[in-house]
Amino acid sequence: MYRYVTILAVVLLSVFLATERASAQVFPLKVSADGRHIVGQDDQPFFINGDTAWSLIGQVSKEDAELYLRDCAANGFNSVVVTLVEGYFADNAPANFYGVQPFTTANDFTTPNEAYFEHADWVINKAAELGLQLIVAPNYLGCCDDGWLEALTNNNSVADARWYGEWIGERYKDFPNLIYVWGNDLNPSSVRDKIRAMAEGVDSRDQNHLHTYHASAENSALDQWEASESWLDINITYTYQPVQQKSLEDYNRSPFLPFFLFESQYENDFLGAQPEQVRKQAYTAVLTGANGHHYGSWPIWHMNGKPNDDQVDWKDTLGYEGRIDMKHVKELFESRDWHTLVPDQGHQLVTSGYGSGDSFVAAALTGDSATAIVYLPRRTTISLDLGQISGDSKTGWWFNPRDGSAVEIGTLAGSGSMSFTPSSGDDWVMVIDDASRDFRAPGEVTAVVRPNPPENLRVE
């Protein structure tokens, strides 16, 4: 018997989830004691549910930056990728919206302009106030003459790079909500020593924040750097191909670093990704071992910066279907023990119909075998071995990734093979629980709206 479970109230509550764990208790993020996850200061796993706004600091006013960040918080994002010093994409680059240059001598990283960084600080602090983690690129090098690569190559020595890193580390060591990301669309190749010098420079002054590396597409950080690099803390996945291929590669690495999907196809960007595509990327990443994901869309990623061929204002795209759907990714996984998920690489759980490539059915089982989660990117019939899930009877659900609702299939008896087919051609998530555990509906969240804490406490 099918029973439709309306969880509208839960969906409404979910907008509060992004900041439920107050940032003061969570940030800065760190690597778990077992080296497998990214956790908060409270040692609880932190599910990264990110948006991408590379040009947030460089391109827009404070008012627009705040508008954007508030929208992120309201839509369940808890992380945003930004460039600290915009080199190309902003209209005034490298100057910011207000025309303030990042360096008092052009291309000289040893001449940071206080006024520029004060604006950056304001944006970072605003994000912290809203419970948002920022993944900050201090020196976006770029793939194709769209960053600081030429300046790093020709205008700054290794010592200069080290100086800049130390300056960044000293300035930002006490900001709670940062992760550093180096490189950016570039394999290190000829500037490897200078990148290392910057990262090590930061590390020498700031031991509080994680570092990672954003390489060229189809390269994860660990494809370009050894895990033993002293500054490298976490791995990230960057692929335009079916996500499971690279994500599983990162999951199976040894030595291993915690990883998440950092970049894949952006909604409505040059590959024309539609909502189905960005949902598939997000769910597939987590079900193949990622510690979360970052979504991206055009033109939010550069906020109407270069290339200046946008036909739509970025503010009018905040409601893109795929972008709005991303909050349900976090809701679903945080309603179960997502951090213990083990990808079904051997197809013991989904025994047939698992597909491949763009039609790959990603599946995983929690570490205690009490929950199986399966993402079906399109209408297809799959067979599940219910014996892989604990308990004499199971509770099955269809979770709708387009609105966060859950349909209870009912009680599934036995431990044999059973076939399932979604009722429509859309993408669906199947959740099957050990019935004895009495889990809440998939995606159901509990959230508390709290005041922000007082700031700038002083004593005399």
């Binding site: 107050a22 709290r450 005041p451 922000n452 007082p454 700031e455 700038n456 406490l457 004593v459």
Partner: protein
């Protein structure tokens, strides 16, 4: 900017600033010893952690102690309008303070930053 304008600080004895009578000063020391005090000031929050406007602030919780890791004394301040508070009746020593905002449902914010002072 979401931050409210800074309140005028009362950096001297509370009586010089006027008492609202609703919780902007700690109870006096009844131990008969010297009565040192510490004056706390902060920027009041204007928003909740979900980005919505904070319309139901009911006060603050001042938490302090003699060790950073052991803040064991709590004072509830029931006036949401203040952003300065005098902790009175303190003995000589080092004190650490933090403050939380509290709404009318009794839900507390995360901690503010921690500050310290040496009283002699």
């Amino acid at each position: 900017m979401s931050r409210r304008p800074l309140e005028v600080f009362c950096l001297v004895a509370l009586t010089a600033c006027g008492s609202s009578g609703d919780g902007d000063q700690a109870p006096p020391n009844t131990g008969g010893g010297p009565t040192l005090s510490a004056t706390l000031s902060w920027d009041s929050p204007a928003f909740n952690n979900d980005g919505s406007a904070l319309n139901n602030l009911s006060g603050y919780r001042v938490i302090y102690g003699n060790a950073h890791t052991n803040l064991d004394t709590t004072i509830d301040v029931t006036n949401p309008s203040i952003s300065t508070f005098v902790v009175d009746g303190l003995s000589p020593g080092t004190y650490y303070f933090k403050v939380r905002a509290v709404n009318d449902q009794g839900v507390e914010s995360a901690d503010s930053n921690v500050v310290s002072i040496v009283l002699q």
